[in-house]
Symmetry: C2
Subunit: 260 residues, 2 copies
């Protein structure tokens, strides 16, 4: 273990990057130096970390000199373009996007569930989809105790999972709806206030992209393709925190008390 | 067919009763006479039908003299107490509550799906749960074409399904939440604004009461207990209209185009 780490956050101005920054401070993570990276558009903006003002730098292929740890959350296409460079330069990357999750040689890790897998990294550890993570944390002890045959999960996903701007748009739309005014549609293609919506592209399998992630990532994290997973995902007019309602068919009997 | 019917609405002041009244007018149903029945609390209030003011009468066992048709939607316990009297007095009752739905000798009818069953009535026709009805209308043509092995349905139920007061409480709670004020809890046990909630009692089967209704009523309406039904129901902060997201495993192959 180093005494401290030279850290970079890719996507520092986004809702997730900002939360990462807050957590590094809250948990007094041993940050030796900190680079905040974002797109050209955000470069020059100032963020605060432990009272210090840090200027956002534009993300380029030269951003990863003198960096030990990269937390990356600027979308899959940005990760696909820049993260291989970070790995090449010797940094350990925790990637929050879907870019590398299903690559065979890249561990997909939920710390409470399969921390072992992280040991096999080659400079890059992928972080699952938000909905998969919270389901795995709940189900792993049940899986270990009695096995799981089948999962039927419904998600109710908050607008924060889309973006900080989406949170603001829900406030705006709600006010407009209550006042009977026309609804602003910028981040959302449909009215989100007082509504429930699909928010992912449907694939040929009939599942949407979010549902496919939950199915494939569950199989990878538990190293078990035999589990039947039916996932049903929607966006709901909730600001923060995804909810899930999970029904599980176990291999062996489990009482409610044991499950709890 | 009569030229006109002597109609009574049980639960006329509720959200459903009020909508029934509106539909009788909108569809120019041949109403010969109209009795609006409600609890003692609402007796004496005035509702309007085709420009006429009609005084609400208190529902008693004497309410059903000279009535041909009763539309009943004042809750299961009210139906259990008063509807047998209406049937005895010779009226045909369409009961919107859960009181009689699963009785073997009472037809459970969705007009678009199993109108035939209505012919076998003995003075009482039950109307399924809201969530079951809309699912049946969507699935019946698929069931007829290729058979159905399994249904996985998630519902997103509006607060109007609870009561008119619940609709008002969602407006109030939303305003309070946006203004950072304490949330009023009267009709809802939890905050409903910007939230998703369970709103039915869980049964020993692990399903809640709403989910059990969807399972049992589907079997009865399609006269087919072999269909596997997994239902997942929640209340969402939507004013009117329940949404459902249904995944179906058919017996024979069906293309998306054919299904549409």
């Amino acid at each position: 273990m180093h005494e401290s780490y030279r850290v970079a956050i890719v996507g520092a101005t986004g809702a997730v990057g900002n939360t990462m920054l807050g957590l590094l401070e809250e948990r007094t993570f041993p940050v030796g130096s900190l680079k905040l990276l974002a797109s050209h558009r955000s470069a020059g903006e100032i963020l605060t970390f432990k009272g210090a003002h840090i200027e956002i730098e534009e993300l380029t292929h030269d951003s990863f000199e003198d960096v030990d740890l990269v937390f990356s959350s600027a979308g899959a296409s940005v990760s696909r373009e820049f993260i291989p460079t970070a790995v090449e330069k010797g940094a350990l990357v925790i990637d929050n996007t879907s870019a590398f999750r299903m690559h065979d040689d890249i561990p997909l890790v939920v710390p409470e569930v399969n921390m072992d897998a992280a040991q096999k990294h080659n400079g890059l550890i992928a972080n699952p989809n938000c909905s998969t993570i919270q389901m795995m944390v709940a189900l792993k002890p049940i899986y270990d105790a009695v096995g799981i045959k089948r999962i039927v999960v419904s998600t109710y996903q908050s607008v924060s999972g889309k973006s900080g701007q989406a949170v603001n748009e829900l406030v705006l739309q709600t006010t407009e709806a209550l006042e009977g005014k026309p609804i602003t549609l910028d981040r959302f293609p449909h009215q989100m206030a007082f509504n429930v919506a699909f928010d992912w592209t449907f694939t040929d399998s009939g599942d949407n992209e979010e549902e496919l992630k939950m199915i494939k990532e569950t199989h990878k994290i538990l190293s078990d393709d035999s589990i039947g997973v039916s996932a049903t995902t929607v966006r709901v007019p909730v600001f923060f925190a995804h909810s899930e309602y999970i029904k599980v068919e176990t291999k062996k009997k489990l009482t409610q008390a044991e499950a709890l």
